[in-house]
Symmetry: C2
Subunit: 398 residues, 2 copies
């Protein structure tokens, strides 16, 4: 009931609401905590839905965010502002309480994701064109640093796999150059950049573990991945999982699996094997393969429920209407269902009781109970893709 009042009033914007009717009521209904909000990317229309994950309702739609295919988002530490990274180089600061764009800049010609520093002060964006990263003040979006990804004789590389690490650091990978760079903003002056060369062919994406310790880049040009242990005094990249199967029998790769979708539970990672109908099981201490799990199709995301007990897995076209749930201790598929066409993005509630799922080609977002698998809600959305809950504000590397 109270939520519905908020929904109604918030549609007017806070200023308008305050000017109309009773100002006390306008304030009381607009005031709310931000811990249970989420945004949903509507990729085709350049719009964002703001959702209340407790009421399981869409609160409002915000338009005018440009090209949002492959868009992602991070949050300010007060969980009021989302920073949305568009494919077209757009960087938008969105006030999710007011439902309004605070500022929007075109910071590059072509971009892929970003990160926010652990203290919430710096927002970094990973750019394809011009290749490199750009760093902005999180409150004003004024430029702080521009770090071209130069290599060879005057060449610039696309950058991918940009994440935050503890101590005001950003880590990212140079796709064309085969390098990993660590930009350290902990000092007062220019950032210190550490370059790791020769990390492998065509690193297409990367992830950092939730403790900010392990940075792992996937290689498209080789049968393996590259790992850096950031806790080592002299962090050196090393190849892991070499020959894990990509070269064995090349299946057509319909969609690049996302490394941020590695599931960690009970001391093991489950990760999508590129081009194969399998998950790899990797020991989280040694980074050695300890098993494989046959699955329904080419996995895209394998996401652990926050307690690490189960991983939920989705698949590439033409098998993208299906979700499988893997029991991590026994490494077996224990549940399978078909939410609908192009079920491509999942986001768990922070303590894991529910999962939100974009069913793109049904123009729906579904909410499921993760214990009973019961469908709790179906919400309308226009070609929804990524879902980002505000609890990400408090996680390393998200």
């Amino acid at each position: 009931m109270k939520r519905r009042e908020f929904l109604k009033v918030s549609g007017l914007g806070a200023a308008a609401a305050a000017a109309s009717a009773s100002p006390v009521r306008a304030c009381a209904t607009t005031l709310r905590g931000t811990g249970d909000l989420a945004i949903i990317i509507e990729r085709a229309t350049g719009s964002i839905l703001i959702a209340d994950t407790t009421a399981r309702e869409i609160v409002r739609r915000v338009e005018g965010l440009g090209d949002l295919s492959h868009a992602s988002a991070v949050y300010s530490r007060d969980a009021r502002y989302a920073y949305i990274f568009g494919r077209d180089g757009g960087l938008t600061k969105l006030d999710i309480l007011e439902g309004a764009i605070v500022k929007r800049i075109m910071q590059a010609g072509n971009a892929i994701g970003g990160a926010i520093s652990d203290d919430g002060q710096l927002v970094a964006v990973s750019n394809y064109k011009p290749g490199g990263i750009r760093v902005f003040d999180a409150s004003t979006l004024e430029p702080v640093a521009d770090i071209p990804a130069t290599y060879g004789a005057d060449k610039r590389s696309k950058t991918v796999g940009l994440v935050d690490a503890p101590g005001r650091r950003f880590i990212y990978t140079l796709y064309d150059a085969g390098e990993i760079w660590i930009a350290d903003f902990s000092g007062n002056g220019e950032p210190r950049i550490a370059r790791h060369k020769g990390i492998g062919e065509l690193p297409y994406d990367a992830l950092i573990t939730g403790d900010g310790r392990h940075y792992i880049a996937g290689l498209f040009g080789e049968d393996g991945l590259t790992h850096i242990d950031l806790w080592q005094d002299k962090a050196e990249p090393r190849r892991i999982l070499s020959g894990y199967g990509r070269g064995e029998k090349k299946l057509p790769v319909y969609k690049m699996p996302h490394l941020e979708g590695w599931a960690l539970g009970g001391g093991r990672f489950l990760l999508p094997a590129v081009g194969r109908h399998e998950l790899l099981v990797v020991d989280a201490a040694s980074f050695e393969e300890v098993g494989r799990i046959p699955v329904h199709g080419q996995p895209i995301f394998a996401v652990a429920r926050p307690d690490g007990r189960y991983a939920w897995v989705n698949f590439a076209h033409p098998r993208n209407d299906t979700i499988q749930v893997v029991d991590i201790p026994s490494l077996t598929v224990v549940h399978e269902f078909k939410p609908g066409p192009a079920a491509l993005h999942m986001e768990f509630a922070p303590r894991g009781h529910e999962v939100w799922l974009s069913v793109r080609d049904a123009n729906e977002v579904h909410v499921y109970d993760t214990h009973s698998y019961e469908k709790r809600a179906v919400l309308p959305a226009q070609k929804p893709s990524g879902i980002f809950m505000t609890a990400r504000a408090h996680r390393i590397g998200l």
Copy 2:
């Protein structure tokens, strides 16, 4: 600047602020995200400070919460409401945006802590008198269940170590009975209770790991602890760390070490050894002791920075003016400082860049940079104890 405006206006309460001056301004200044707020328990005066951890400022004080010695708190999933568990059986629902008590009930004569279910709907309190737990609706504080901790012929046990676990479960320990109970509220009717008997003598506290998998109770009457792996189909308690040293040479125990202060990093737990000037190092997979770290005094809390790289340790009287920082990979003390008398509670910012520290007998809360160890702020507080940041809303078992 903006924060100071909020501070000024918030002192009036939202309604009063809206009625005075421009309503638009009142709304704009009161509206804020709740992701970076915290509460600080002022134990001696029955009051709570609400703090802004980004501005490093006290926003306001709320009084009238009764006996807050050993008080603790949990948060609603929107991070707007704190539920504060007083020693006197008081349960207070506090609106941290408005800075006002929403409801306060005396639910028992004597209590020790509580928990909130993973879906945010149930708040449970652990009671000494009458022994048992009581469960309330999180929105109204209306009673939902009363579960007496009965044992033997009509006896009731004190309950301790109450935590939430995934799937609307609460787990807790019966101090007098030596039992662990699991109350499962996932169905629609009465909760299902699983009782584990004979878990050991005088279990005085317990913890659950951040993944909700391992529940561990400390034993005051024996030289060991009890462990339950909740992922097992038939979860059975087993004794771990038997003979870890308490019996070897009984030092006087000045203060009970808190088990929720176990530090987890790099696959190892560091935990305070009861009555000894040592931390135990325990393998997180086998629960076997793999080492000891000599420290400055009898440790009370060993808390891992959220990335698990370091543990910060504080000590019992008469050595409670000191903090030591342990490097977890090398198991060595790498930093020591004396913030002041009775430095008894620490709370890390969710991504670990800063730590908040109550220095009780100096009537101060300090904020430190966790990388440079620089002191960033000193805030006045009356006999501060526990500090609880809103990011706890999104963690299992906190």
